[in-house]
Symmetry: C2
């Protein structure tokens, strides 16, 4: 018997002992949590777990064993025994008593290092940290697979909406081809109010900041970075491959004007910040090709992107308003399913964190030596991401032109030269001396469209191109 086999036997003996205890009616003792952070999410989670009557009975087996905080003196909304609170976060992830580490401090460091240390120490991890997972998921899941522990992240995307677990389980019998989400509540709130009240981005942002719906530094939200983190995570689960965050094209909503919202409305669209992951150029399906396609392959690249998008009013995502989030998953043979709910907030996020804890408690009590493939993140290869110029989509563009005859003809000729087929060209009115022309294309290759635009910019009749938006 070599050393590895010896380790295997030890790894097997313990669960088997637990299994015997359970079979003979000896109750499994509590699962000990070490919670890192007692901010909004941490506090919500502690409140949920302390007030556990009327919830799933398994939660009663959970013990809040340690909670790591920055300061012991800060007044708290939850009562915890003195011995539970500590400022020594490293001690929590190193404590042999701790079964599950719940990381809700946010930010990149020390979150990343603490998660990795917890994994190294054989602890399961629950995290709400989309930034860490989207940037260091590679390192973290490699370590977790090696250590045979789970890293659960339901709260990282879509707040309370159960979407991570359905992607790992129920939906994974499908061939997913598209995941489209409204995954940032702040930007959806801003766009909803711009649409409803006809006011500008800057005015709504200022008001949203006053009301606490937007941060003092709104960059992560309004520039789409938060949504990019989230779609990278969703894409990796839906397509079974890792995603490099720098491959995610990201465009925020600062450039969305009330003028475009009004035109979009007339054309039958609302403007939403969508996070999209989509297979592209699916070749004709042959069984041999398909064999290798659970992880995305060079034959099945995907596009992953965040940008403001014109959404047809009848589309399920068009009616998602305010701070709500929704994630639409399309696959074969299921068709379209959509998950809708609160994208943030203490209660919603605590629900998601606790559902991960519940899954881990069930896994710990099952005392099995085989990891549950419906909980773990198995992907190891990287998805191939299509460059943006290869994207095939529809565009909405607004031009300001000199008021000359023949301008529309010149635009049309230029687009035609680059194989850009137009659905509609409408002269919508005037801005001062300049004529305003709105163009909507059929599906075109983004690279072709960009080339056409570059040439159009050089036309003497063109004053400027104030808007360029993609159409769903």
């Amino acid at each position: 018997m070599n050393n590895n086999q010896h380790k295997d036997l030890v790894g097997w003996a313990l669960p088997t002992l637990q299994l015997l205890l359970v079979k003979f009616g000896i109750r499994f003792v509590g699962v000990k949590l070490g919670i890192l952070g007692l901010g909004t999410v941490g506090t919500g989670t502690v409140q949920l777990l302390q007030d556990n009557a009327g919830r799933h009975p398994l939660l009663r087996d959970v013990q809040i064993y340690r909670v790591g905080v920055r300061s012991l003196d800060k007044p708290r909304m939850v009562e915890l025994p003195g011995a539970v609170l500590t400022t020594d976060l490293a001690a929590i992830v190193n404590d042999p008593q701790v079964d599950i580490v719940v990381e809700v401090i946010g930010g990149l460091e020390p979150a990343r290092s603490l998660i990795l240390k917890a994994i190294e120490n054989g602890k399961h991890v629950v995290t709400a940290n989309k930034a860490v997972i989207s940037r260091f998921g590679d390192e973290i899941f490699t370590a977790a697979n090696k250590a045979g522990v789970y890293v659960m992240l339901e709260a990282a995307v879509g707040g309370g909406i159960p979407v991570i677990q359905p992607l790992k389980q129920s939906l994974s019998v499908n061939r997913i081809h598209t995941v489209t989400g409204i995954v940032n509540g702040t930007t959806n709130y801003i766009l909803t109010r711009m649409q409803a009240e006809g006011i500008s981005f800057d005015d709504v942002l200022a008001d949203a900041q006053k009301l606490g719906y937007a941060e003092a530094d709104p960059t992560a939200d309004v520039d789409g970075l938060d949504a990019a983190d989230k779609i990278a995570i969703l894409a990796s689960l839906a397509f079974g491959g890792r995603i490099k965050l720098q491959d995610v094209y990201c465009e925020g909503i600062r450039q969305v004007s009330k003028t475009d919202i009004a035109y979009a409305d007339k054309l039958g669209f609302v403007i939403k910040l969508l996070a999209i992951a989509k297979t592209v150029n699916l070749p004709p399906i042959s069984p041999t090709l398909r064999e290798a396609t659970y992880a995305s392959t060079p034959d099945h690249p995907i596009s992953v992107r965040v940008h403001p998008t014109l959404v047809p009013k009848a589309h399920p995502l068009a009616s998602i308003n305010g701070v709500y989030n929704a994630i639409l998953v399309e696959g074969e043979p299921i068709g379209q399913v959509m998950f809708f709910g609160p994208g943030a907030g203490a209660g919603a996020t605590a629900s998601a964190v606790s559902s991960d804890i519940l899954n881990l408690v069930a896994a710990l009590q099952a005392s099995t030596a085989t990891p549950n493939p419906l909980l773990s993140c198995r992907h190891q290869d990287y998805c191939q991401i299509t460059p943006l110029e290869e994207l095939v989509t529809r565009f909405y563009t607004r031009f300001l032109t000199k008021d000359q005859p023949g301008v529309i003809g010149k635009l049309g000729t230029c687009f035609g030269k680059y194989s850009v087929s137009l659905e509609s060209v409408v002269q919508t009115g005037f801005q001062g001396e300049l004529a305003e022309i709105v163009v909507v294309t059929h599906d075109v290759r983004e690279g072709d469209f960009r080339q056409a635009l570059a040439e159009i910019r050089t036309l003497e009749a063109i004053d400027s191109i104030p808007s360029l938006l993609r159409v769903l």
Copy 2:
């Protein structure tokens, strides 16, 4: 060692052997399915499982071992080896080789008996049969718990929408207080067209029957019976107690007129057939009371009902149109989450059936002796159902009255006598000689409202009460 302990040891030895095999790299052999029925859902499921590349890799461990059909000679859309097809359904549920029985024949018998026999033989069951589960869930789950097997039913409600598993897992950390569903595609299709086109129920039904969206005998759909089956199942999962189907109040859409749809529209509502399960009269929350509330108790009765309902246009369910289904779950602390998708169809239902198979394959491979509490249906007690007259809701009612002065006063007096507070009373116009009056109430006790209506009916000025609808 008594006999039970002996059985326990045997029950433990087998999984432990498998566990050893897995630890030492010996691959778990295939899971053998016995599928009962090869209609739309059965065929969809076989197609999905046969064409498994690009789906979750665990599905590759599934072997379609037997498929029970009524006739061997019928042409089929799937190819199966001759030995797989059989007309002997009893032989499938009795075959010791079969690990999982997939019941997709529908109807009450022989489905019920075959499911019970499969359970008795220690097989896990996947069923899409809402009628059997809503009527015989009691018997079936009692047998399953006794035999230590799982009965999975994702496909029984909401077609492909993953809602059963989230209710068992993620959402169960919440205290659910309301489940509201559009769970019947046929009636939603009919109401959507009545709304959009301003035509009558009979005209849309006839057309829906021609198009195959409604059955030749549409009773189960249009009278709400199908929706009642489904809400009984959802309620039992959400509230952790069994439901007697006869306790579910059920009212279909035959009485919904285009006139009421038009008035509802003016008042800011759409009319939907909703299936609702809701806690009622929640007492002030005290920790002692809460202790016992995971299963519904006399202190926390629920109302379970199906009826056409006026839904405010801004409500998430208002924009669910056509044959789509949606289920809105509300709980503490999550708030509102909604699941949306195709409520029927071969592909969607096959996705749900296969997701149950996937969960069972994972459970079988985990080789644990403890049943996974996140897969099983644990409830054993019955929920207490509030009688309809105790329901507190808003009402919309339309009266035809003689064109006399003082009629509105008489209505108001009569409602006031029974504590029915009115939100609006509008004389909307005339039908021939008769004045038409539409009344919307505030929240009232249904019993009080009914008593007021009974007295109003006796008033000389009242011709008739053509409509009575509840308001969400």
